[in-house]
Assembly symmetry: C2
Homo-oligomer: 356 residues x 2
DNA sequence: TATTCTCTCGTTAACGTTACCGAACATTGC
DNA sequence: GCAATGTTCGGTAACGTTAACGAGAGAATA
């Protein structure tokens, strides 16, 4: 009613131009660090920008600029056994959708984590096309390292998600700290059992030789528990199968043998262990700790069979990687080193609120 | 190189217009459900929109539209004893910053949670000014209910954060489910101790009569544990003080008396209990469970004195409330009912990765 | 028949920024 | 002294959308 609503115009490029007695073109040149501006006027404009704390309107910028940035995303394809990568893909799709109006084109390549040739194939495709950056979830370590080296020669930015490998990418790594992940499992274990407890560590996956990173988790787990000096008896068993019937046989024999108080499954395959104890309720169930917020895992969590799920939000990782590239290319933000992703603890009493 | 890079122009309002043989003005009228369009052309345009799955460019829209939406945020002010609201405020500030380029004006009012008059004052100010919506963190229940009723009469949208109260707001509640929060604490407790364990529940705060919601937590906690039929001996003690020296005296006597195995602090004041056991290392420390990711709490977590912190991300709540209003007013998205916020479990082994 | 009104629709300025084009002037080379 | 080249800057179209303005056709009124 009253002339109370002062026209709160945004302080923009035009206002700077007026104050500095130059054209908006010149201001733009200063803002974007382009040439063709004398030092005197550059300083004058910069001073005003600082004085008035000018903040560019990112929405206007994204409207004006026509981007031509192409991003390749290379991750394992979802298999029946591990819905894990489905979650990652969902985060990536969300990121793609947000970036699309900015003119960033993204192409997703899925490879079979049991077949190195499929990885070589998609990496070759990425090299051949004109991409500006590539997001990689490394499984085949040697092949991935060779690939990123090629990328760097072609000035292609690289970024890892999910697990880190020795050869550094240009933009870093987005994912959990695997050693800490193991330590956290150890920490939870220490609350569950006392001196002399028997602990069984299970690696369940076909082609275990490709999952070097599991060793890091195990090391963190063992180190943590051994440092407590409680004489825990820890045993590691590899079960290199994917099919339930095969896994069941192995489980049957090793659980018979060691009769553990705690079962620590080092990856997302904990649901098969859940199923085992669901099917064999005659056996006394140990405490069970596993990884990842997959439907099957949550199912056995809700049934009270799995006790703790340690989760690392694969969807956030995928989304974050794309968001990071957006900031790198469009906002030209300085590259920060990533903090590792959060590690979440999920039980039967908080799983229903996880992931908004 | 090759003419491979097809001009991937965005499919926009102009393309719709061309396909429908109308002007962009007409398309805009259809898109925004305005009048002055014949039914025939309206249908024709709508069909094309659906067929081509047109997605409006929100950045262009926000550039074009000049909003005049004013939001009031009413939360407790940060006190020395509880840095909790500082976190909430930070999330809100982040939200404000993001919304500012859309022309949404936000004003934050802080009130003293120990002085109801300060709340009445800021609520009065909100009513007097011309706001479109108000975000409220309810502490004084009766006064808040009277206030939201006034708001509704003035067509002012309301939304609660942090805790819910019986009189419904128009846009719902963003925060944790308090009963589940207590159940989760019970769940963790059940992993720590066995039959006949002694458990002490501590309510620590000046003016406890204002913290009705604590009862909900306690109820969830007790119900969960009693259902286990393990004959837990649970005791509740109120300590209606804020000063450490006063709290210490009370703690001293009640811990002497009941010598608990588990200490459950129902709010963010768990750090004072941490300090107590840090100062009195001669006393055998029980397991300690408390709430909220405050610096002081995390400090005693890292020292190994506090065992579990249950956290509800107050910053996310504040941010989410503003983001929700943005979607409500600008994107005109349909109001969905909120899922409660996640409830996180923090230990000495994952606190360093919390909150990216 | 002239006037007004209503309904439908096209045209256009504006939002804040980017990037290209070329003007104005200064400097260099012959 | 004149052309060629450089340097610095202003002007402006464009990005996709919104909303104000007004044009044209036909209906209703005088």
């Amino acid at each position: 009613m009253m002339s109370d609503d002062k026209d709160k115009k945004r302080f923009g490029i035009k206002d700077i131009a007026k104050l500095a007695n130059v054209s908006i073109g010149t201001v733009d040149r200063v803002l974007n660090n382009r040439k063709d501006v004398s030092e005197a006027t550059r300083k004058k404009v910069k001073d005003i920008i600082k004085e008035y704390n000018y903040q560019p309107n990112l929405y206007a910028r994204s409207l004006s600029v026509k981007n031509n940035i192409k991003i390749s995303v290379i991750i394992p394809k979802t298999s029946l056994q591990t819905g894990y990568w489905q979650l990652c893909l969902e985060g990536i799709r969300k990121g793609i959708q947000e970036l699309e109006p900015f003119g960033i084109q993204t192409e997703v390549f899925l490879y079979d984590q049991e077949d190195v040739h499929t990885f070589l194939e998609v990496s070759e495709k990425t090299i051949k096309s004109q991409f500006n950056a590539v997001v990689i979830a490394p499984i085949f370590i040697k092949e991935t390292e060779a690939f990123v080296k090629k990328c760097h020669r072609k000035k292609l930015q690289t970024i890892y998600i999910n697990s880190d490998i020795p050869t550094k990418s240009t933009l870093g790594y987005i994912g959990p700290d695997l050693n800490s992940t193991g330590r956290l499992a150890g920490n939870l274990t220490s609350y569950l059992v006392g001196t002399n407890a028997k602990i069984l560590i299970l690696n369940i996956a076909k082609g275990l030789e490709n999952y070097k990173y599991l060793d890091t988790k195990i090391e963190g787990y063992k180190t943590y528990l051994n440092n407590l000096n409680k004489n825990f008896r820890i045993e590691v068993v590899d079960i290199p199968y994917n099919e339930y019937t095969e896994v069941e046989k192995e489980l049957w024999s090793s659980i018979r043998k060691s009769n553990p108080d705690v079962l620590f499954v080092t990856n997302s395959r904990v649901s098969v262990v859940g199923r085992f104890f669901y099917d064999h309720q005659e056996i006394k169930k140990p405490y069970i700790i596993g990884f990842d917020f997959l439907e099957a895992n949550v199912d056995y969590l809700s049934k009270g069979i799995v006790d703790f799920l340690i989760c690392q939000r694969p969807d956030k990782q995928g989304y974050f990687a794309l968001n990071y590239l957006y900031r790198f290319f469009l906002l030209k933000e300085n590259v920060m080193n990533f903090k590792p992703m959060p590690i979440d603890i999920i039980t039967v009493e908080n799983y229903m609120f996880y992931e908004n």
